[in-house]
Symmetry: C2
Subunit: 271 residues, 2 copies
């Protein structure tokens, strides 16, 4: 069965929408507040929906989806596959960042996307940034990712290494968090297998965050723990504004600032 | 009277040291806390002294001086005058950032530097970032800068414009603050006049901050005012990590991270 590109676009953008709804329901079930949704249009074509909850458990969690299209500028064309004879692109994706109120629970980040030029591919990843790393949290996150990769025959160790290399603050010579997986240009001419993996990864992340938050949301913490959280968040800010490709790409290409900087923590301290 | 380069290096580095002491005394006189000093060495040559006070009036104020020397990398050589036949550089400077506890008082930034390659020049500037702009503060700051420029026959309007252009958050289409002056490559073969101006600007900034803080430090403020301060500080962080040349240059060239990021506000909120 060979799907046309238009079918792939429809399937992936519907999935990102479905996953946004599932995540909203899952995270709201743990909190006393609700998500607020806000749609935006991209001047060049397409748009998205930001969903943000500022809650009592999730201090700030954003679940953004977007489906956009247009033409790459010459500067970016060079860096993107499949743009030799046309600068046209189409992209759909979901991006999630959760900053927790309790400093004992790791901040969690996830995104997956499907991009089409004259080629098409998936990219994405997810990772944890704990202020106070806990073995159970870190190990269960990694082992779940390993299983998710293995069940679709993808190389977990390779993507784990890429994640560690990516989420690294060079100027401080320190990792942002405890990693996860990171992959790009996933296209092995097995769309069904790839898309299954993308879906499984989204569901895995949603369930991991749900169960991890449920387990730890009432953990007692001290002022010192909170101070560690505020410190770690300053590193999160530094990483995103100095290194994160998506953030810098978005800001340079007149992307939706609120949607791009949804990733910023609600509060941070340089202490 | 024609000074040798070595004399200029001695005079300027002594001045930056003197000004650091004057500022420390001036700012401590308004607060209940004291500055803590920390010296650092630059692996490539030279070093500096950071002085930071986390006070009750100045929530965080840093007054850093440095005298460094070494060789520019090829990447940076191209952008710097006087490096055609040698990559050697020498640089001394002072950098001040003051984040106030009271949201009614503008954050204040100042720096001046003397740089020598096969050419030599001064650069620097100062500007204010109020969360809640106040006419008296803004106007007295600008009019004092105008007088300081005029008394050394420099073009205040030109440097004011350069400051406004520099301290601008392109992605948000908003200025960082209310501006000030910004200048670089100041070398008109009148070292005495230039150096007099550099000294006058430093003294002007020190006195302005002292008098402005003294006038406003007991101003009443509301929770909403504090929320505006936390919001404005997030823009300060965004500017410094996304656009500030000194910050990005320093971080890319393995500069002293603590000294470079001394400019970060103690707390910020993306609200």
């Amino acid at each position: 069965m060979s799907l046309k590109l238009e079918d792939k676009k429809k399937l992936t953008s519907e999935w990102f929408q479905d996953l946004q709804n599932q995540m909203i329901n899952s995270f709201e079930s743990l909190d006393t507040k609700k998500f607020e949704k806000k749609s935006w249009e991209r001047p060049g074509g397409g748009g998205g929906t930001m969903a943000v909850m500022k809650g009592d458990v999730f201090e700030k969690v954003g679940v953004n989806i977007s489906v956009v299209h247009g033409k790459f500028t010459n500067e970016f064309k060079k860096k993107i596959p499949g743009t030799e004879s046309s600068a046209d692109f189409w992209a759909a994706g979901i991006s999630v960042v959760a900053h927790m109120k309790n400093p004992k629970i790791a901040a969690a980040h996830f995104n997956t996307r499907f991009i089409a030029t004259e080629k098409s591919w998936f990219g994405g990843g997810c990772d944890l940034t704990p202020a106070i790393p806990e073995d159970e949290e870190t190990q269960s996150f990694h082992s779940g990712l390993e299983k998710t990769c293995n069940s679709s025959s993808y190389d977990y160790q390779k993507w784990k290494k890429e994640c560690d290399e990516y989420f690294y603050l060079k100027h401080r010579k320190e990792p942002r968090g405890v990693g996860g997986i990171f992959f790009d240009y996933l296209n092995e001419d097995k769309f069904d297998n790839e898309f299954d993996f993308i879906k499984n990864l989204g569901l895995y992340f949603k369930n991991f965050v749900h169960d991890n938050v449920e387990r730890k949301k009432d953990s007692p913490y001290s002022e010192e723990d909170m101070s560690k959280l505020m410190h770690k968040r300053s590193r999160y800010v530094e990483f995103n504004l100095l290194y994160d490709r998506g953030t810098l790409f978005g800001l340079k290409t007149d992307g939706n600032v609120d949607a791009i900087l949804m990733s910023m923590p609600p509060r941070a301290e340089w202490n």
